[in-house]
Structure formats: C-alpha cells, structure tokens
C-alpha cells in the first residue's frame, strides 16, 4: 500500500505543547515537509521566536537557534552572513514579527537577506495570554482591548505582506491560510517555494500564514477556522504580493 500521507521526517516525533486545534501544528508540518522535499535538513538552521512557537527548537529535526523576542531576522542574518552555505529560516508570530520586531523584519527584507521567513499571523499574542497584536482586527476583544479594538484609539491592523512588498529587497512574499485542506496545500507550495528560493540564491522570501488561536479567541478550533475565513481573509487577502520571477516575466 502506498502512503498518501505520513509524518515528515524533519518534524520531531514528539507531542507539541500547542493547544488542541491550534494551527501552529499544521504550519510546523508544512515547514518540515518543505525541508524534506528539498532534502536540506542536514544544512538547515531554524530560528525560533518568542511566542507560542518558542519551543519550535524542539520540533524541527535540524539545528536551531532560539532568538530574543522579535529579533529572529537579525539572528538569521548573522547565521547566513557567516555561513552562506546554510539554509536559514525563521518562524515568527505576529507579536514577534509585526510589533517588537518591525525594524528587524523590514531591514532583513530591505537588505534582501537570502533567508526564509514563516510569519504566523493569528491576530493575537497567544503565548502571553491573549493581548492585542498589531494585527488584531478592529472590534476584536482581547485582554488589552477589553472593549474591542477601536481604530480611533488603537489604530488599524498592520498588513505586513503588503508593507514589505513595497521594498525592493524581497524576492517573494505571499499570504496563505490553512483553514481548509485545499488552502493547506496552497500554503505548502508557498512555503516550499520560499525555501527553494533560498536554495537557488534568489533572496528574501516571506510567507505569511493566517493562523488560529482557539484558546485566546475563546472559540472551538472549528469555529476558529471559520473566523479565519469570515473575518481574517477579508482584511488579509490571500495572494502573492511580490515575486521577482513574475516581475522578470512581466518585463
């Protein structure tokens, strides 16, 4: 019998600490699948964020570094610049990447560092118990926006992919989601592409993945997927925001 689906080798065979139904788990698996398929596990170094994915260094079967909150792109830069033969990726949440780490992601992108960034946007600070993130949707109640995020007071959520796409540096930026099996497949392709770009020396690639936080959204995991479809995707449209290959074709 042929395996239609099995655990990727680059994903450690351990129980994760993620909450039931948290899509961090799916995204981890997709990263591992990409690493497996490109056959790069023995020259890959991952950089874990501070956020729910902080223990990612226990979950990927490659070398790992644990970065300070928001600084993963700088840590990746340090690794890649001194060992360009390594494949270097960061895995970061939206508090990590879009708030405290804004300068680091903008400038890694602007410099066109040849790294891969997996950006998990769940619109909340999961790890610390559900505070508002820069990506929290207007109206959403969190522990630090207890009356719902008010655009007049807390501003509008930041669209990172669109923002970074204005830079010349990045080679590839796409926003995907994992709230249906079909979209999981699409996300997988994007993540694989982001790694393949690095292998080919194309430069900075970032995949933003819309993700759930059933725990802090106060929903069941299934309801959380529906919220992604109904509320997140309309504000965070899926698609490719930057692609130097496509640009090449255009010209």
């Amino acid at each position: 019998m042929a395996k239609v689906f099995e655990r990727p080798k680059a994903l450690a065979d351990v129980v994760t600490h993620y909450c039931p139904g948290c899509t961090h788990g799916i995204i981890h698996r997709l990263v591992a699948e990409a690493i497996d398929e490109l056959g790069i596990v023995d020259r890959t170094v991952g950089v874990a964020p501070v956020g729910c994915a902080v223990l990612a260094y226990d979950y990927f079967e490659c070398d790992m570094q644990e970065a300070a909150h928001g600084r993963a792109p700088a840590v990746c830069t340090g690794i890649k610049r001194v060992r360009p033969d390594l494949i270097v990726f960061s895995y970061q949440g939206d508090g990590d990447l879009a708030s405290i780490g804004t300068a680091e992601i903008v400038h890694a992108a602007a410099r066109g560092e040849n790294i891969t960034v997996i950006f998990v946007n769940n619109g909340i600070y999961g790890m610390t118990g559900g505070q508002m993130a820069p990506t929290t949707l207007v109206g959403h109640k969190t522990t630090t926006s207890p009356y719902g995020r008010d655009a007049k007071v807390q501003g509008h959520p930041v669209r990172i992919s669109e923002m970074l796409a204005t830079l010349e540096g990045p080679a590839y930026i796409e926003r995907v989601s994992v709230h249906t099996p079909q979209l999981v497949n699409r996300a997988k392709q994007a993540i694989k592409r982001a790694f393949a770009n690095q292998v080919e020396g194309k430069g900075f690639s970032l995949v933003e993945v819309l993700s759930t936080c059933p725990t802090n959204w106060g929903m069941t995991p299934v309801e959380a997927l529906q919220r992604v479809a109904n509320e997140m995707v309309p504000y965070y449209p899926l698609g490719v925001f930057k692609d130097i290959d496509a640009e090449g074709e255009d010209k």
Partner: protein, 357 residues
C-alpha cells in the same frame, strides 16, 4: 617581530580582530567608535569577510548572536547609549553561552550625554546591565598596544569559556594614535566548536540548539549553577592586572584604562615630591583583581580609586580592601578627564591628611 605602525585605537582594534581570525563584524554608527566599523567595512570584503551595518545596535547584537551560534569569531562595537540597547542581547548571549567580543568606547552619560571620554559604564559592564545572573569578562587596556594584544586575548577567552567578552575603552583610547606592533600570532587553528549550529551534515547524529530558555525552574537553576561554576573558574584563572610601585606605597591607587596613564603621570611627580604612591591597574575589570588589593591592604595606609565616573570601581576596591584601610575616591565625569595635577592634589590631600591624622 612586526613593524611598528602609528594607528588610531579604533582602527587598531579592527586590525587586531582580523589577525585574531575575526571575519565578521556587525555594527551601527556612533561616536566615538566609528573608525572601527569603517575600518572593517574597508578591510573585511578584501579578505572574504563582511561588515554588516545593522539597522540598530539591537539588530547588531542579535546578528552577533546568530553568527557566534554558527561558530565563527565575531565582533560588534558601540558606545554607551548603544551598549545600553544591547543589554537584552548580551544577557541572551551569556545565557546561551556564546563567545563573542563587544567593544564599548565609553562616552559621557547619562542619556544622550556627550561624546567625550568617560568611564561611567563600569557597573553596566561588570555587574551586567542586562537581567539575570550573568557575567561578561571585561578587559580594560590602557594603551593602543595593549588594546591590540587584548583583542587576541578577548577572542581566546571568549572561545575558551563560551562567554561574551567586553573590551571597555573610552573615547580617548578610540581616537588617539600610538605606535603598535602586531605580534606574530600563534593562532592555534581554532578549536572546533562542536556545539555550533553548522548544520547536521557537519555533526551527523547530533542536533545542535542554541538556547537560553528553561521553562522548568529546577533546570534553569541547574543552568545558573553551571554558569556560576564557570564564572568562579574564570575568577580563579583569568585575573589580569598591573602593579606599579606598590611594595613601598603608603597610598595605593586603583585606576584603569586611560585614567591609569594619567595616574602614572601624577605618580611620577608624586615620587619626586617624596610621596610614596603605588598603582594597581586592573586589566580585567571582571574578574576584579581582589587579591592584590587585599595583599596591599596589609601594609599601605590608604587607597584611592581614580575614575572618569562618579564612583563605581571604588566599590570593588572597598570590597577587596574589606574595611582594613580607608578607601578614597576621586573622579571626573561627563567627558572631563582627570588631569595629572588634579590627581596629584588628591594624593597630597590624602597623604597629608594621614600625616596630620
């Protein structure tokens, strides 16, 4: 024996780092250390390395984290406000036990302060301005030649103990020129860093993880105990200092870096006047040379700490002298540099006070 070259302190550090095998430098501009990154920007590309101008001091120290974790010799430098921004990163680097060299060309503080030489970051350097119980090895050279030698020492210590090493200079040391000689390096081919994240293919069968997180407090305590044992070992083995005329001194002065040179000028004059003044010059600020002070406390009548700060190292002198003899303080701040004359006047005040008292 190499040739003597006239070099700015900041550039001499750069050249010394390159000769010590450092090929990567991450920095951000700030006066008075700019000549160092600028030197690296010129030289490193020529020899297959890279100087990356980071978006900030914070990014720079975290690039250093990544690079050090990947197993290479790496350096960053800044001056006071920029070093404050690196405190979280330094705590991480110490926690994850990564070797690297950090240069602080101290300027006047606090806040934006000024850009003239100072030593007001002594506590930050020796006590850890970051959070948690960790230590930097802190080296304070007094001449450019010593700075050059120190750089090699710094990289070796960093690698030996897997610990960040800080070179604490000041604006004057960075900006001045003196002749230096780059001694023949016996760079024993760097020991393999087995723990580094160089990819599994370089260490099959063992996944390397660079990390400072221990969610279980008992594990974190174990880690801290390991660090404390390491620090004790460093304190036992790596103290460096210089003694000048301490044997017969009535007054023993503590001073480091450029301040020590000014003290030496004042001492010459003092000796001419018949004042018996000696100097203990800590070269490692941490580990602090406790023992020579404790020894001197047996016979000297008084101690004096001379600093370009409002009284920081004086506490270490007090701790070392441990109440046996009075410990005085003389300091200038804000970029004002003590003059030999001012220091000499303080010698007289103390020694005459003693004679009267």
């Amino acid at each position: 024996m190499g040739e003597r070259i006239l070099m700015k302190g900041n550039e001499a550090i750069g050249e010394a780092a390159i000769r010590a095998g450092c090929r990567h430098f991450f920095g951000y501009p700030i006066t008075p250390q700019n000549e160092l990154p600028e030197y690296m920007a010129r030289r490193l590309p020529e020899i297959g390395g890279a100087m990356v101008q980071a978006e900030s001091e914070i990014a720079a120290i975290n690039m250093v984290y990544g690079a050090a974790g990947a197993g290479v010799r790496v350096m960053t430098s800044s001056s006071s406000p920029g070093i404050s921004l690196k405190q979280e990163g330094l705590s991480y680097i110490a926690g994850a036990e990564l070797p690297c060299v950090v240069v602080n060309m101290v300027r006047g503080g606090p806040g934006l302060g000024g850009i003239q030489p100072a030593q007001g970051d002594y506590w930050q350097a020796t006590r850890g301005g970051g959070h948690g119980d960790y230590r930097l090895i802190v080296l304070a050279p007094a001449t450019i030649q010593e700075m050059v030698d120190t750089v090699q020492d710094a990289f070796d210590l960093a690698d030996k103990y897997r610990n960040p090493v800080m070179i604490l200079g000041d604006g004057m040391l960075g900006q001045m020129m003196e002749p230096v000689e780059f001694r023949e390096q016996t760079v024993s081919s760097l020991a393999e860093k087995e723990w580094a994240t160089t990819g599994l293919r370089n260490h099959p069968g063992r996944r390397n993880v660079i990390n400072s997180l221990y969610l279980q407090p008992d594990k974190l305590e174990e880690h801290n105990q390991h660090l404390q044992r390491k620090y004790a070992e460093i304190a036992a083995n790596e103290v460096r200092y210089e003694e000048v005329d301490v044997e017969d001194a009535d007054l023993v002065v503590a001073a480091y870096g450029t301040t020590a040179r000014i003290v030496r000028s004042a001492m010459e004059e003092a000796r001419r006047e018949g004042l018996r003044v000696g100097l203990i010059r800590p070269i490692t600020l941490w580990p602090f040379p406790v023992e020579p002070f404790a020894r001197a406390a047996e016979r000297a009548h008084a101690f004096l700490s001379v600093e370009m700060s409002a009284g920081q190292m004086v506490e270490d002198v007090r701790l070392a002298v441990n109440g046996k003899k009075p410990v005085y303080f003389y300091g200038r701040t804000g970029g004002m540099v003590p003059t030999p004359e001012g220091v000499l006047a303080k010698f007289r005040e103390i020694l005459e006070g003693k004679h009267n008292g």
